[in-house]
């Protein structure tokens, strides 16, 4: 997957705050929301931003904490906007 790390090795709350603070178009999804063939891990409601053709989301791994990733994906952008 093609992605850019916007915020590395942080807490989930720091990642959520980063997304809310730095992006204008923010949507809230439930924990376990499926996107890019993955499931978002976190404390709901989970902020996910869209900007252009990119989705900006928190990504949690057990050993590495939480990251904010920017991932290009026009179809996923539309799906997030439609709340599906």
């Amino acid at each position: 997957m093609n992605y850019e790390i916007l915020l590395p090795n942080s807490s989930f709350r720091e990642c959520a705050d980063f997304i809310k603070k730095n992006f204008k178009e923010v949507y809230y999804v439930p924990a376990g929301y499926r996107i890019f063939d993955s499931y978002i891990i976190g404390v709901p409601p989970i902020p996910v931003a869209v900007e252009g053709d990119d989705v900006i989301l928190p990504y949690t791994k057990p050993c590495h904490g939480c990251f904010v990733l920017r991932i290009p994906g026009k179809e996923e952008v539309e799906r997030v906007r439609k709340g599906k």
């Binding site: 499931y39 891990i41 709901p44 057990p62 939480c66």
Partner: protein
């Protein structure tokens, strides 16, 4: 009755020992126990229990979350192992996706914020890194896990 042990990063040695101890208790009460974790966490479990006396079934953590999210499986009781902020995120996710009663098994050096973040779950917590005995004492304090699922 089905129980899930959701393992965190295996960097703290106490996790594997406590998981096996809980699995033994659950097996004794007739639970069907599944352990989910990343490759390293599962490898530690299986190498500690090569004949699967305690852990009968294992699965990849991401696949487990996916199956819960897609409603392809569920559990009656879920133990989430927590020693970092990631564990709190996994606990919140399980609480959102599953009908299981959740038990937060908290350990490590700084457990207070983790206890705070686990509100709403049964909490087993101790400042433990290498020594499983304080956690074991708390686990032994629960006379029946099956009762919690009713």
């Amino acid at each position: 009755m089905k129980a899930l042990l959701m393992m965190g990063c295996p960097e703290l040695p106490v996790q594997t020992a406590v998981a096996l101890y809980i699995a033994n208790k659950l097996n004794g009460e007739g639970f069907e126990v599944t352990a989910a974790g990343n490759k390293a966490a599962i490898s530690l479990l299986l190498n500690s229990d090569p004949e699967k006396h305690y852990i009968k079934k294992v699965m990849d953590l991401d696949r487990c979350i996916g199956a819960l999210a897609e409603k392809k499986m569920d559990f009656d009781l879920c133990f989430v192992f927590i020693h970092s902020d990631s564990g709190i995120s996994y606990l919140a996710t399980v609480k959102s996706l599953s009908k299981a009663k959740t038990v937060a098994v908290i350990f490590g050096k700084e457990i207070e914020p983790l206890i705070e973040g686990s509100a709403g779950s049964i909490i087993i917590a101790s400042k433990a890194v290498h020594n499983p005995m304080p956690l074991r004492a708390q686990i032994d304090g629960v006379k029946s896990w099956a009762v919690l699922t009713k």
